[in-house]
């Protein structure tokens, strides 16, 4: 059974991080250069960690499966990044950001982690501005803000609808500087396929070069994973097609606990599905909900009509009706379920009646079209490209889609997993968002972890290791892990079945969406747990991966990732089945209040479930880390 010591410092909430920083061990500057750190991934978390650790003097090697670190999917985040700057003088504070985030996460995150996140949020904005991130500004030259779901203050900093892009390019520029200076060795087109443990500690990785197919061994004193989330389990999602769980899944199979895998975020404002060929769902930033009003017809028979032909009194602005104080800015999980409910009632719009309107007519009347264009122009353009409809004239149609995973590898307060020497950052870990993430908090967490947390906390681990004691990549453990990767790839290449990888990915996506999506039931999850092992067998026997492993082979890349997704899907369902309550993004139909809101069970489930691999074919072990709320009261979340 894994030892789950969260290592949360004692003392008052607001002092914990400051105190911890003064108490953890330091590595002296002359010794830093003797330690090598491997960073996998170069999104916000990976790039910012790589750059910062190199600045501190560590030897850093960064691996990305993309052809450039600038491609990581952080780049696609649209809306913004939260920070408790209180530049708007609207009553914001570190405590309010902490409280909103803990409440938004439906009281399933650690208080200490979330408070630290809120504290360092202000440093993130300073850092990014200094790097040349062109945030939106007011005419006086000061930074502009907007509000986002789940908050009653304007604390979101943004760069048009491309905030993630600008923050990532900022981190990428910091990383590029260190690569140019020779302080970071960058490996592109390099996919991590296994984690290597020596004496129970993370000491390296096995990597496949996606261009030449070469499989190589890399040793280090510590390994950091910033490899993102696993929403592509659902096949259709707002993730990039290449986003995958292979790094964290293979670390799980080496003993790293996987925490709360069932916590997935379904984003309320995405463009609805249009056909079975579809590969991707596109998000329309939540920031649109600042000015757009969400509605469906009151009467089913109006659903076929044009929006313009439905008079005001026959429209149901259901979020404003159900949640008058937050209205269209209700949190994502609440808004998504409300959309599902009205569509289940038969009041959805568009093809298949799986859509609701997001209407800007009032905003255009109030602000004028140019002002709306200035705020959201690029989003309206994206919408037009995909749907061929003009949202300045007719309302957008939107529907919820898989967008983020709050679950991930278990980490302690230092962001270290239960495997010593393995650190996990950003979306790849589970730590800060509880059961639901608020908008504009993912960018905040990725950069907080990479710039301001792990550069301190990794020292606490490294200081306990003798400099120069790093194992050789020729050690037996490395050779065995390499052989394991080769065997796995050969099995995929030799299956020579009848169906392409995508065929199985679509099947997996359907099972997951039907039984482990927006609403889950005991029966459905049990059914999924029968179907998924069958799918796994079918996949390994029936997949056809053409070509060989020693060349650029995209089918092989996809096959390896899908093999991991199928297993992870099973773990998600297992987690969802055993969590007999509803909280945040995890909604079990059996556990709800009469008005359809989540019914938590704090007594029995006020904890983190951290799953531990027990070997192929054996059920994983469910470890529990209790969540002790010392400073806030676990209360019923209300946005009414």
């Amino acid at each position: 059974m894994a030892q789950l010591n969260s290592r949360i410092p004692s003392g008052p909430l607001a002092d914990k991080w400051r105190k911890h920083k003064t108490e953890i061990k330091l590595v002296n500057p002359a010794n830093k250069r003797k330690y090598k750190v491997i960073v996998v991934g170069a999104g916000l978390a990976g790039a910012s960690a790589s750059a910062t650790l190199a600045e501190l003097g560590y030897q850093v090697e960064t691996f990305v499966f993309h052809d450039s670190p600038r491609r990581a999917h952080s780049i696609a985040a649209q809306g913004g990044v939260n920070a408790a700057k209180n530049y708007q003088n609207d009553g914001d504070s570190v405590h309010r950001l902490f409280y909103d985030t803990i409440k938004g996460g439906d009281y399933r995150a650690r208080e200490a982690n979330v408070h630290r996140l809120a504290e360092v949020s202000v440093n993130i904005i300073d850092q990014c501005v200094a790097q040349g991130v062109p945030f939106a500004r007011e005419y006086g030259g000061l930074l502009a803000n907007r509000s986002f779901g789940g908050a009653q203050v304007s604390r979101t900093f943004y760069a048009r609808g491309q905030t993630g892009q600008q923050l990532l390019l900022g981190a990428y520029s910091a990383l590029s500087k260190m690569v140019g200076a020779g302080a970071v060795k960058l490996h592109v087109n390099a996919e991590m396929l296994d984690l290597v443990l020596v004496d129970g500690q993370a000491k390296g990785i096995i990597v496949r070069d996606l261009v030449t197919g070469a499989i190589t061994r890399h040793a280090a004193d510590a390994v950091i994973l910033g490899t993102g989330g696993y929403g592509n389990v659902f096949n259709l999602s707002t993730y990039a097609r290449g986003s995958n769980a292979t790094a964290i899944w293979r670390a799980y199979k080496r003993g790293a606990c996987f925490a709360n895998p069932c916590y997935t975020q379904i984003h309320p404002t995405c463009i609805p599905v249009s056909g079975d060929y579809q590969s991707k769902l596109t998000l329309m930033s939540e920031s649109l909900r600042n000015d757009g009003r969400i509605w469906v017809p009151k009467k089913k028979e109006d659903c076929e009509k044009l929006a313009a032909d439905i008079p005001e009194e026959d429209r149901d602005y259901y979020l404003e009706r159900l949640y008058p104080s937050f209205g269209n800015l209700a949190p994502r999980d609440v808004s998504s379920r409300a959309a599902k409910r009205v569509c289940d009632e038969g009041r959805g719009v568009g093809p298949g009646k799986l859509g609701v309107y997001l209407d800007f007519a009032d905003a255009i009347k109030r602000l004028g079209e140019p002002a709306v264009r200035e705020r959201y122009g690029n989003l309206f353009d994206i919408y037009h490209e995909i749907t061929n409809e003009n949202a300045y004239k007719t309302p957008m149609r939107i529907y919820p889609a898989v967008h983020y995973t709050m679950g991930g590898l278990w980490v302690d307060y230092n962001l270290m997993s239960n495997i010593p020497g393995l650190f996990v950052l950003g979306e790849a870990n589970f730590s800060d968002h509880g059961a639901n993430r608020l908008g504009a908090s993912a960018l905040m967490q990725g950069l907080a972890d990479g710039y301001f947390v792990v550069p301190y906390t990794i020292g606490d681990y490294l200081a306990g290791i003798k400099p120069g004691s790093r194992p050789s990549p020729d050690a037996a453990e490395f050779k065995a892990a390499e052989q394991h990767v080769r065997d796995l790839n050969n099995r995929l290449l030799n299956a020579k079945g009848k169906e392409p990888v995508n065929y199985y990915h679509k099947k997996l996506g359907k099972i997951m969406w039907d039984y482990c999506g927006m609403a889950r039931t005991k029966e459905g999850l049990e059914k999924a747990l029968v179907e998924l092992p069958k799918l796994r067998e079918e996949f390994w026997a029936g997949v056809n991966v053409p070509g060989s492993g020693d060349t650029l082979n995209q089918a092989l890349e996809r096959a390896g990732r899908l093999a991991d997704f199928i297993e992870l899907g099973e773990l998600m369902c297992r987690d969802a089945l055993t969590r007999e309550e509803s909280c945040g993004g995890h909604f079990r139909e059996e556990y709800q209040y009469p008005d359809g809101e989540c019914k938590r069970d704090d007594e029995n489930f006020g904890h983190v479930a951290a799953w531990e691999f027990q070997g192929e074919g054996k059920p994983p072990l469910r470890n529990v880390e209790p969540l002790n709320y010392e400073f806030t009261k676990m209360s019923v979340r209300s946005y009414k």
């Binding site: 910012s48 750059a51 910062t52 600045e55 993309h66 052809d67 450039s68 670190p69 600038r70 491609r71 999917h73 780049i75 530049y87 440093n123 300073d126 850092q127 990014c128 501005v129 200094a130 790097q131 040349g132 062109p134 945030f135 939106a136 500004r137 005419y139 006086g140 030259g141 000061l142 930074l143 600008q166 520029s173 590029s176 500087k177 690569v179 140019g180 960058l186 990039a240 097609r241 290449g242 249009s274 056909g275 060929y277 579809q278 590969s279 991707k280 994206i382 037009h384 490209e385 995909i386 061929n388 710039y451 301001f452 169906e499 392409p500 995508n502 053409p546 060349t551 650029l552 089918a555």
Partner: protein
């Protein structure tokens, strides 16, 4: 604006694709039929469907670069009917939809053709040269934790907006592919302008432009002859005005570095 067929009827097309097994190997065009396509299908989804069929038969799928499929990561890089990113202005390959093509059409799909971007396989090129240019100077040196308060330096909205116009570059390389000289001036000038416009970027303004231009020349990108095909092909419509801005910066930096007595960075073909 986007050219849209008004019909919502399914279409059938032939895709004539460049197939090349690896770097430096001979390539050739191969035709693939794509039948009964929903016009709302994206161009990449159409390639997915062809690839699924190829994989089903155990044949090598068409290798193409893609990731976010929402026009922001800059990975996709197809030349469709002779145009980088295809027929529509301000649209990346991944956001090109089949409604932009007509029933019965033969669509030619190629990789970028530019010496600094060698073909790795089929439609995938190696664009690591762009990263190398960034590493030569595309940054503001600020150690993590060393920044002052974000509102300490007000920046006029117009300046921030213009910097954002430049910063939108997705690094896809279409500008290079569209240029008969394979010049990277639009890409480089976008980063030079973004950072050079902002107060935070002033201390390194001269070295940045000199070093980035030198690296660009060293990597074999051609010179700009002011045809502006780059801007026309850019999915983010980055303006060629930034090239003029970079030329001014480059000239001023060259003079200043000469008068400072430091050797000017070897600039090759210059900006």
């Amino acid at each position: 604006m986007v050219a849209h067929t008004t019909s919502t009827k399914n279409i059938s097309v032939t895709i004539r694709v460049w197939r090349q097994a690896g770097p430096g190997q001979p390539g050739k065009f191969v035709d693939y039929p794509a039948k009964d396509l929903n016009p709302n299908m994206s161009f990449l989804e159409m390639l997915d469907v062809i690839n699924d069929e190829l994989e089903r038969k155990g044949e090598d799928p068409i290798a193409f670069a893609h990731d976010c499929r929402e026009g922001i990561c800059g990975t996709c890089s197809l030349v469709i009917n002779g145009k980088p990113h295809g027929p529509n202005r301000a649209i990346a390959s991944c956001q090109t939809y089949m409604r932009s093509f007509s029933d019965g059409e033969t669509i030619i799909v190629e990789p970028y053709r530019a010496n600094p971007f060698p073909v790795m396989k089929d439609l995938i090129t190696d664009r690591s040269a762009f990263d190398k240019i960034q590493q030569a100077g595309g940054f503001i040196s600020v150690r993590t934790g060393a920044a002052c308060d974000a509102n300490a330096t007000p920046i006029p909205k117009e300046t921030a907006d213009l910097a954002m116009d430049a910063a939108q570059c997705i690094g896809c390389g279409a500008c290079v592919a569209a240029c008969k000289n394979a010049s990277a001036m639009l890409f480089v000038s976008a980063k030079v302008s973004q950072l050079g416009l902002l107060p935070q970027g002033q201390p390194e303004r001269d070295t940045r432009v000199l070093n980035m231009v030198a690296k660009m020349d060293e990597l074999g990108f051609g010179s700009c002859t002011n045809q502006y095909e780059c801007s026309a092909a850019c999915p983010k419509l980055i303006s060629h005005d930034f090239i003029a801005r970079m030329n001014r910066d480059y000239l001023a930096a060259s003079f200043r570095s000469a008068f400072k007595g430091k050797p000017a960075v070897n600039s090759g073909g210059g900006a």
